[in-house]
């Protein structure tokens, strides 16, 4: 379009549009997006697998008994079922949760492109920016749903298989069961926020291709590379900038009082990744030829 086109005013054609309700139903696309993500068998199976994590850990600990010598959160499960929630979340963070986020985010735009449904959405018209926003919101809600699935499953299994009671914190003090549950809930939320950087990367990669599997593979590959870089001590100079470097900071919620510094820096880093990759995805989707 030439610049002077920009001066073209909405003519009487708009008035003739006879849709008084124009612009009123922005949320419908977001709801439809949630239906798309959570209605799929793939998503439900993925959440089912996550729900099974506390069950597997719980059964293993129950069989091994309390003298298994396990350390960390797992070692405390036999004494207090609440730690099954924390242990399950912690153990899912390095692999299960990123895998789930990779699959869903890789699918998001590339899946629509490969089905051809992206054409229908854009001619509807969904608006490219709004569609991207709907995709990202659905991804964020999926991240929360994934960690909450573990939280709920951990709660149920932990309360059935183990005794529960006051919670001994990392700093040695004890809080009530209620506060312990609340802190475990905080951990689930912090972990789901920790996944947003990866979700942003996945959304961007997904905007580049029409092959969902390629998007998933590339996103997961990126995640693995970040993991390797984080594990190389000689690279400590760049470590603070790596996506997963402060993922483990969620445990600071189990101190008294909670130690917010690392958590804050982690969330800031996640936000940074999210902004950068969301902007890149936006630049891509708003200029891409949709075929």
């Amino acid at each position: 379009m030439s610049p002077n086109e920009a001066t073209a005013e909405p003519t009487e054609a708009l008035v003739a549009g006879q849709r008084p309700s124009a612009g009123r139903h922005t949320l419908a696309l977001f709801l439809s997006e949630l239906r798309l993500v959570f209605g799929r068998a793939r998503t439900q199976v993925g959440l089912g697998v996550l729900a099974a994590v506390p069950l597997l850990i719980g059964i293993a600990v129950r069989i091994a008994g309390s003298d298994s010598g396990a350390e960390g959160f797992i070692g405390q499960i036999a004494g207090n079922g609440l730690f099954l929630i924390v242990a399950s979340l912690g153990l899912s963070l390095p692999f299960f949760l990123p895998t789930a986020v990779t699959v869903i985010s890789g699918e998001s735009l590339a899946g629509e492109a490969s089905l051809g449904t992206l054409r229908n959405l854009l001619t509807a018209p969904a608006g490219r920016s709004r569609l991207l926003a709907a995709k990202m919101v659905a991804l964020a809600i999926f991240c929360l749903a994934a960690t909450m699935t573990i939280w709920i499953s951990g709660l149920i299994v932990g309360f059935i298989l183990f005794p529960v009671g006051d919670v001994l914190l990392l700093s040695g003090s004890t809080v009530s069961l209620g506060e312990g549950l609340l802190r475990a809930l905080g951990i689930a939320v912090v972990i789901s926020l920790s996944l947003l950087g990866l979700a942003g990367i996945g959304l961007f990669v997904s905007s580049l291709t029409s092959t969902p599997l390629a998007a998933m593979a590339a996103t997961f590959g990126t995640f693995i590379v970040l993991g390797i870089l984080t594990a190389i001590p000689q690279l400590h100079a760049i470590h603070p900038w790596l996506l997963i470097y402060r993922w483990q900071s969620f445990a600071d919620l189990l101190r008294d009082p909670p130690y917010w510094h690392e958590i804050g820096r982690n969330l800031l880093l996640q936000g940074g990744y999210l902004v950068v990759f969301y902007a890149a995805a936006w630049a891509r989707i708003t200029s891409r030829d949709i075929t």
Binding site: M1, S2, E5, A6, A8, P10, T11, E12, A13, L14, A16, G17, Q18, R19, S21, A22, G23, R24, H25, T26, A28, L29, L31, S32, R35, L36, G39, R40, A41, L115, G116, T117, R119, N120, L121, L122, T123, A124, P125, A126, G127, R130, L131, S287, D289, I290, T291
Partner: protein, 311 residues
């Protein structure tokens, strides 16, 4: 509304490889017309339609839909345009109805309260009511094509842009879709439909444009397109030789004889003179008349090529 629903100026698309898919196309689709966008596969029809709808950006040139610039005004314009681009595309794991609801939800001007009812009507109109609850995975190509048309019919539209709407339909389905197009047109909807089937244009279109190798060769009313070709005199007779000689004597040019048929360009003489002369020459006449050229002839005359895939 006075302006034409679809106008393009110098619309051009050059792909990254340097191939020019659409070359300086100036379209003007009159309001209320059923406009046949005609051309062989690969002639640039779908690329043009994608640019009309803002799916791909033109390399140069401009598009106006319903009087507003595209893609700038797409959020205002596209709710008033029903579109079917390049074959039906759906979520195979959802039912036909669920698919309709999703695409309607993507349009923020669409009323959620009437969504289900409108989906039901659209499905009814394309004859898919019985398959509404079936997953699209189980649909035949023809059913998907109908569902794609149903998407375009979810709302009252001022303009329908349909890319090969009868593709994959059986003869009955094809007839129904053509009937539907005519019905919509009679309600005042402008229909822009691409096709590689000349018969389709002859049957349903008031206007036509002919594309070949990315260039727009002609656009006019279907009547004018055909009228450009001179009618041909056709005589069916067992005495082909004598007939040909007689006609040649009367100044008929471009004579062709094949089996029992003799045909040629009659020139300016009134047709009854030929009949009289043939009878006088004792030619037994089984058939006699002027044949209007078909659109296919018009197409061949325009492009100098058959209706095969353009390279």
């Amino acid at each position: 509304m006075t302006s034409a629903p679809v106008v393009t100026h110098g619309l051009t698309k050059r792909f990254h490889g340097g191939q020019v898919a659409v070359d300086a196309v100036d379209l003007e689709v009159p309001a209320g017309s059923v406009f046949g966008f005609l051309g062989p596969n690969g002639s640039g029809k779908t690329t043009t339609i994608r640019m009309l709808l803002g799916l791909i950006a033109p390399t140069s040139g401009e598009v106006e839909l319903l009087g507003e610039p595209m893609p700038k005004a797409h959020l205002r314009v596209l709710p008033r345009v029903g579109a079917l681009v390049e074959g039906p595309a759906f979520y195979p794991f959802w039912t036909g109805q669920a698919n309709l609801l999703r695409f309607d939800a993507a349009d923020r001007t669409a009323d959620p309260k009437t969504r289900k009812a409108r989906a039901g009507e659209a499905l009814e109109r394309v004859g898919l009511s019985n398959a509404a609850g079936k997953k699209v995975r189980a649909y035949s190509l023809g059913m998907r094509q109908r569902l794609a048309i149903a998407v375009a019919l979810m709302q009252r539209r001022e303009l329908l842009v349909l890319d090969e709407p009868t593709n994959g339909l059986d003869p009955q389905g094809t007839r129904e879709v053509r009937h539907l197009i005519q019905e919509l047109a009679s309600d005042g909807t402008t229909v822009f439909t691409s096709t590689h089937l000349l018969a389709e244009v002859e049957q349903v279109c008031t206007h036509a444009a002919v594309m070949s190798r990315g260039k727009l060769l002609r656009q006019s009313t279907v009547e004018d397109l055909r009228a450009e070709l001179r009618p041909r005199l056709v005589v069916r007779t067992p005495d082909a030789g004598t007939a040909a000689e007689t006609l040649q004597g009367l100044g008929v040019t471009d004579l062709k004889t094949s089996g029992e048929t003799v045909e040629g360009d009659p020139g300016e003489l009134p047709i009854e003179k030929f009949a009289a002369a043939l009878v006088a020459a004792d030619v037994r006449i089984h058939g006699f008349g002027l044949e209007r050229p078909s659109l296919e002839d018009a197409f061949v005359a325009l492009t100098g090529e058959g209706f095969d895939v353009a390279e």
